[in-house]
Symmetry: C2
Amino acid sequence: MTASIPATHHGDLWAVVPAGGAGTRLWPLSRAGAPKFLHDLAGDGRTLLQATYDRLQPLVGERLLVVTGAAHQVAVRGQLAELPADQVIAEPSPRDSMAAIGLAAAIIERQDPDAVIGSFAADHVIADPEAFRACVTEAAAVARTGLLVTLGITPDSPSTGFGYIRLGERLDGFPTAHAVDSFVEKPDADTAQAYVDSGDYRWNAGMFVARASVVLDLLAENHPDLARDLRAIAAEPQQLDELWDGLTKIAIDHAIAEPAAAAGKVAVVPGSFGWEDIGDFEALTDLTPAQDSTREGTGIKVLGDAARVFAQQSSGLVVTGTERTIAVLGLENVVVVDTGDAVLVTTTEHAQDVKSIVEALKAAGRADLT
Amino acid sequence: MTASIPATHHGDLWAVVPAGGAGTRLWPLSRAGAPKFLHDLAGDGRTLLQATYDRLQPLVGERLLVVTGAAHQVAVRGQLAELPADQVIAEPSPRDSMAAIGLAAAIIERQDPDAVIGSFAADHVIADPEAFRACVTEAAAVARTGLLVTLGITPDSPSTGFGYIRLGERLDGFPTAHAVDSFVEKPDADTAQAYVDSGDYRWNAGMFVARASVVLDLLAENHPDLARDLRAIAAEPQQLDELWDGLTKIAIDHAIAEPAAAAGKVAVVPGSFGWEDIGDFEALTDLTPAQDSTREGTGIKVLGDAARVFAQQSSGLVVTGTERTIAVLGLENVVVVDTGDAVLVTTTEHAQDVKSIVEALKAAGRADLT
């Protein structure tokens, strides 16, 4: 597995890209067999995974590992043809983010214990990659001091869909970094508004930067078996299949970030770079640019071929996934997703409930569609 | 054309079925190339045309002529395989209802001048065929006295979508027939309510019963050229192509029914037999029975295969015209029509506006879809 890993200098920055999650709330666009990171949801000709690579490549060159489900390994390699094939690591089964990122950390640690890794999900959208890279560069510098560093997104709304990071003291010697006072769970609406009004909170986008050895040492303090098994797999890759399914299933936030924050070992670099996670069709509608259309009354956004969408007295989003013409008449905030084997019609207000359709399909024996 | 017309007794009742009209407000289900009468809109396994035949056959046996567009002649013959092929008459071009019904009347008149013809559109739905046939039977008896007879539907709502018939005096010697005082145009809502409250008005469903010779003689009084040309075509069918495109384009109501009513020559037989014209998706939604579904929260009606429709927190209608699964979430009174090359998403409230989508398609050079 390590044969073709690129030569590095001591302390270089590596990117780790966990590419998992079915994106159930984006069904039928996103499926278990074709999750959202494999799709061009931003409508710019690159899939979310490819855009993630594009965004990181100026920082890390070829020092990038993708960790994905076994079912998606071929698709990921196909989309990232420029990346050496053995830098796409297949998980035999989903074991949550700590196992995925921790395995990558362990592989990189064997090559360079001082390497700094940054973990960035494959399905985020970032409007300003330059600002993002500046933020990561500062985070890497902070990480070289031995801290676990997270990026904290400056909120542009009192979202109840994200956890928040409460800022602590400014860190001397860095332009913008703060200590992390604490991570807090997704708040209710009033609490979220209070967080935003205070100026002391940032969104937790789940992006971490740290030395590979710091990640694994923090893990060894909190979940020693998991740290040991991940280092064992990195040392002897043939142990992957034997050990993987027994690994503790836990998110990196709970496994190391929260305990380390309580111990004063976490920093945050605040950032404003137009981050979106496109978790559902409401977010996708917001993200999709309005049509420069001359057709009368068309307030519909289109992801795909706008020439095949005929809308009147309507607003919302149409996703064209087939050659079919789609006509929408008299519906506000509608979401229409046309694919080869399934059509979804809903509204942005019901974006969170799309997963219940997926559950209904499974319950009806139509898991083939999910 | 007359070779295989069935043997009749003097004064027999014939049915004339004009099968025209694209049903634009039912796009994309109904197309210029596949108008609504060719579809099973009632979901009972028979198309509207076939159901019309089924309903009339006990009254007229094989004494039935269909008049349709040249483009639909093959489809009509295919759907009515039991009918001799030359009883499906193709119009070279649409010349409105007077030409269509008048040509059939002229053909029948040549065989039996005393024959009574009843004209019934191919795209109506009638819930109680027995009651319908009883009504037609009385109308035929009245027609044998030389009157033009129309069926008047007892209104079940103050519809503004139909013209109305104002009842005159009762006719002696018949169970329910009245003279027609007048035909009135589609009313506004207040007027329609007053009509219904008065009890003196019936819906004009465009169904006429009269001797073939009465139809043509009334036409000769009002539009002598049209009557002459239709009788000429019936006498020499090879004149059809030469004369047809020059015929006056006029509806039978304006051509003969209204002038004859003013002259006291029209009767009406009132009827209540669950008549629907399914002019748009609101009517189709009303007509479609509710699903006997155990799936949670499913308030959606389905025309087609209900097993492929997954609806939650929704009401309205889904028409399944493909093998695809259709999911609807969080929309009231929605209409989703899935066909091979086009999908329509609208609401029952916008049912009348569907034709503007068809116009937009034509304007965009997509007449192939209409």
